[in-house]
């Protein structure tokens, strides 16, 4: 019989991803950039929200987008009309962005643009409610979107993303009259697992609540800039 040995690793399975994320964050910090990781299920309204955000804040902040939704270039094309750097990431068939993919985006940012002049990088993650939250990409804050058409119970069924979010946007509130949905219930369900999350209800269609979201962004960016 041969002898076996044990190597106690006690190493996080996502160790490599975590190191990559820390490295990405160092780059952002060096350039004085704040980075938000924007996550939701497919179609909750990430790209439309980005469009509104770029349009509204372009005079106040210098922004760039790392676009992880690469099934097509459609999302990236929609965002390019706002004259900000839009860097598409080839995610292949992956169901989330990881820190290595975003490092590729940062590389492009460094070589084709002027990162020193950028205040905010918005990362649109792959539409997926399950795993993007598990893969940090180097962000300073996680933003989760939940559209009201998805139902109040989604935070309970897919808790990890909602538990980790710094900001939750309840989107498409203009559709509320057509649905049987209780917005307070969504908020309660999220607060059960994440009592400190900032919750903002918005409609990108009517513009309702967007001002609150824009203020949140600007507050975050100025707080982070002070820390840098």
């Amino acid at each position: 019989m041969h002898q076996t040995f044990d190597a106690a690793l006690e190493l996080n399975l996502l160790h490599a991803n975590q190191e990559g994320a820390n490295h990405n964050r160092e780059h952002f910090d060096k350039w004085g950039i704040s980075c938000f990781n924007i996550m939701s299920s497919p179609g909750a309204g990430k790209t439309v929200l980005l469009e509104k955000t770029l349009a509204a804040l372009q005079d106040k902040l210098s922004m760039a987008v790392i676009e992880g939704d690469m099934t097509t270039e459609l999302d990236a094309d929609r965002l390019r009309q706002y004259n900000v750097p839009v860097i598409p990431i080839n995610t292949g068939r992956s169901c989330h962005l990881d820190s290595k993919m975003v490092a590729g985006g940062i590389h492009t940012l460094e070589h084709e643009y002027n990162p020193q002049e950028i205040d905010l990088v918005l990362v649109e993650n792959v539409g997926n409610l399950v795993c993007p939250a598990e893969f940090e990409v180097g962000e300073h804050a996680k933003v989760a979107l939940l559209s009201i058409t998805e139902g109040e119970d989604k935070p309970l069924k897919y808790p990890v993303m909602f538990q980790e979010a710094d900001c939750l946007l309840i989107t498409k509130t203009d559709l509320a009259p057509y649905l049987d949905i209780d917005l307070d219930r969504i908020a309660q369900n999220v607060r059960q697992m994440n009592p400190n999350v900032t919750i903002i209800s918005v409609s990108a269609k009517t513009g309702d609540g967007l001002e609150v979201w824009f203020n949140w962004i600007q507050n975050q960016v100025s707080t982070l800039t002070l820390c840098h």
């Binding site: 041969h2 002898q3 076996t4 040995f5 044990d6 190597a7 106690a8 690793l9 006690e10 190493l11 996080n12 399975l13 996502l14 160790h15 490599a16 991803n17 992956s94 169901c95 989330h96 990881d98 997926n128 399950v130 795993c131 939250a133 598990e134 893969f135 309970l156 069924k157 808790p159 990890v160 538990q163 607060r191 059960q192 697992m193 994440n194 009592p195």
Partner: protein, 125 residues
């Protein structure tokens, strides 16, 4: 689907360890600890691991997964409780939100079981 990526991360981590060893060991089992409050489904992970390690230095290696339940601590009641995933996360006694997760978020390679020196020299992945 995401288990495929998790498995890639796992393989990379083990490969790092393997390459740091002076005498290349023969890995027999990899013990994982997977919390229930993660996005990882053990069955899918097993399957992805088997597929992705075929014809590599990890072929035939057994993946042993230990499931860790979600346990939270309620500071109001000063006691631990087990939230019901999918139903309720706040404390069943006092309804305080789940703030302090004591276990269930683990995604760890606990340890690697290996035997004496491997005859292969190259790690091919």
């Amino acid at each position: 689907m995401h288990e495929t990526d998790m498995t890639k991360a796992l393989i990379l981590t083990v490969k790092d360890w393997y390459e740091s060893q002076l005498e290349k060991p023969k890995i027999e089992k990899i013990h994982l600890i997977v919390g229930q409050f993660t996005c990882v489904e053990p069955v899918s992970l097993q399957f992805a691991f088997e597929v992705q390690t075929r014809n590599t230095f990890l072929a035939e290696v057994e993946l042993v997964i230990k499931d860790i339940p979600l346990v939270a601590f309620c500071h109001t009641c000063q006691q631990e409780y087990k939230p019901e995933i999918g139903l309720q996360y706040s404390c069943p006694d006092c309804n305080s939100p789940m703030e302090d997760i004591r276990s269930g978020r683990e995604l760890k390679i606990d340890r690697i079981e290996y035997s004496s020196v491997n005859t292969y020299e190259n790690v091919s992945l």
